[in-house]
Chain length 414, copies 2
């Protein structure tokens, strides 16, 4: 089954927004085992949308259109789609009621007249209720072709797609598709591919796809089978083999779990608390930990010691160390991590000091970063040489620091 995406919106053509919906939908369609050959963006223009949609329906089986379902005159995705496919628009009582209710819940005084336009539905289309807005999604089927219309705002599109469109598309696939995520930290994308090259080249079911993220690599292992049980049976040995090859570098196999979630989970499991001592990352490691709801159980306070004076005052880094080795050194990183534990009541501390640039510090190059972790009465330090601009160097430092903390827990607590 071939699926094509059409994004409707002049704001995308003007570059006002990044089109993240397309990537979201493309990934989900790949996950469903659907083929995708074209993605098209067109403005809020009747003739051009008409032409683009006609072409898409000719060359693809399913066309997913996003955007242009709003209440204004400019919004014409539904109208053009009904015309191209030959549907009449009729008022849908159910959607009308939902719109009334939506406005009532949001304490609006009056419902703008043009919102009723959104209750007009192509006769015979499947209506997908939208819990986060007034424009419902629509599925229109005719002559072996399908158009799926979704509202543009990601907070409306994503739940609609996950809850209603994904199962619909899945039900139309002759085979069951199941996938398993494996998230890896500590290897580059090409290293991961090298270590898996035999599997990647020989495996056709399940397949293995790699996704490069900042200082992480995500693998998606996808199996096609006649039923769920069989798909799981296909996935299991491959996922197991990957985990064997990467061992502790695999931080999770859960789709939604981020690195900071994995770290907080491990800290909670072992009833540990952590503090942070940050120089060049300036609070970003703590910021990532606090991303996790309930982080307060394991993280109570953090230190941002950007100046040498602050490193001495809050973390008790010695004047001699700073003078002899400099702020960006193995020794300073170690003293920061040790000082962090002693200054707070935390069980562990992760400390970072480095040169994010743009200027080097004497002989020390941009990208040189030391990360230290104090845990169970000992402190370890790792030296990194990151590439990229200031932002990239800091982002990589944060990921490596979180991962160092994670690996330290794994090796110290069983």
């Amino acid at each position: 089954m071939v699926v094509e995406l059409i994004s409707v919106g002049t704001e995308i053509l003007l570059g006002n927004i990044v089109n993240t919906n397309t990537q979201y939908l493309a990934e989900k369609c790949a996950l469903l085992g659907l083929s995708m050959y074209h993605q098209v963006t067109v403005g809020d223009n009747r003739e051009r949308l008409f032409a683009v949609l006609e072409t898409a329906l000719n060359r693809s089986d399913v066309v997913i259109l996003t955007g242009g379902l709003g209440p204004t005159e400019d919004d014409l995705t539904k109208e053009v789609c009904a015309e191209v496919m030959g549907f009449d628009l009729v008022e849908d009582e159910h959607t009308r009621e939902r719109i009334s209710k939506y406005f009532k819940n949001n304490i609006y005084k009056e419902i703008p007249d043009n919102n009723w336009k959104q209750a007009m539905i192509p006769q015979g289309a499947t209506v997908l209720d939208n819990s986060n807005g007034t424009a419902p999604g629509l599925i229109m089927e005719k002559d072996g072709k399908t158009a799926i219309l979704l509202p543009g705002p990601p907070n409306e599109l994503k739940p609609l797609f996950t809850e209603q469109v994904f199962p619909y598309l899945q039900s139309r696939q002759p085979e069951v598709i199941r996938s398993q995520m494996v998230k890896i930290c500590g290897y580059g994308e090409s290293q991961v591919e090298d270590k898996l090259i035999d599997l990647i080249n020989t495996q056709t079911n399940p397949t293995i796809a790699t996704y490069a993220k900042t200082a992480e690599v995500h693998l998606r292992v996808t199996a096609k089978a006649a039923n769920e049980e069989e798909a799981k049976t296909l996935l299991k040995p491959v996922v197991k083999e990957i985990k064997n090859r990467f061992d502790n570098a695999v931080y999770t196999t859960k789709e939604e779990e981020t690195l900071e979630m994995a770290v907080v989970r491990l800290l909670k499991k072992h009833e540990l608390t952590v503090t942070t001592a940050e120089s060049c990352t300036g609070g970003l490691i703590a910021g990532r930990l606090v991303n996790v709801p309930g982080a307060s159980e394991v993280f109570r306070e953090g230190f941002i010691t950007y100046s040498n004076k602050a490193k001495r005052k809050y973390l008790d880094v010695s004047k001699g160390t700073l003078k002899k080795y400099g702020a960006v050194s193995e020794q300073t990183a170690k003293e920061m991590a040790t000082g962090g534990v002693f200054a707070s009541d935390a069980d562990a501390c992760i400390a970072v000091t480095g040169i994010a640039g743009p200027d080097a510090d004497g002989e020390k190059p941009v990208g040189l970063v030391y990360i230290a972790c104090y845990m169970k009465d000992k402190v370890k330090v790792e030296e990194y040489h990151f590439k990229g601009n200031r932002e990239k160097i800091r982002e990589q430092s944060v990921v490596k620091a979180l991962d160092f903390l994670r690996r330290s827990i794994l090796s110290n607590y069983h």
Copy 2:
């Protein structure tokens, strides 16, 4: 002049990467006053790329193709483009030399054979030297149509476009296009539009476009004129009028200046230092300040006090205040900001405490955030009610905190 974008790459169709090049190019083309009606993504497939390119050259004057210029068999943008437009491929001595040099500089032992493919150039095309990779950009002109080919990696595409393609496209425009950015914090997008509705509706030259960012609105004022001088003369009164209407809410009119850069600039100007006292934002405000190279002049240390105990220990927030008003209260925010200044030697402190969710805190709802700023012996506090999930609430808190600090400097120092 109508321009169309074609992104070539199966990885985009699979959703492996977000296509940020398209937004970048679309914004720049809009800035040049070019019309864009279509953006298309197609995979590394000969027939489909051929068909998509033919259609694009039919309906548009200039087609910008990105990706598919690499050394592998899969990369066929140049070959297909030469075929569609009727160009012969010939080896370009200059490009061959550049490739040799590129590999020599990068300490590779051998140049892979397939890299020489990148020295083959459509005869008569303009070669755009690429300083960051081996694939040069190309401009191919024939029968009134133009194809511009650019490498896919953003760090290669962006400098190539800015330095070579932008001036080329500009030279082909009969008029000079100049634009001026105005960045605003403290108003929502619809508020900004309301306050400018008369200008937006009546102005045709310059035009005003709004771009909504997290808790910020950016305005781009764009003028067309016969020459640079005239364009500037057209821009000046409109920019002045916008600045009048938004006064202090305009934090910069510089294209590249971010909010944190504006804050650091003001702090430096008045020789002030600042510290941060963060609860729900957990280090993200400090993280933003440290984004700015040279932030060390104005920012030396920051406090992340996530627990009540840490608020007491480091910021001297009183037990009574925490008990009576709670951690998320006007009073606690004020004491955090005051304590931050006294604990550090900073001239000012920005403090944030709030409920980022997902769970409310008793009667206090998710999204309730207090931001306090201590400056010149007095402390002020602002109460916010943010919408969205945990991430959105924290992001908005960070922007509002930086802006509160900025406004405080403006009102306290002249």
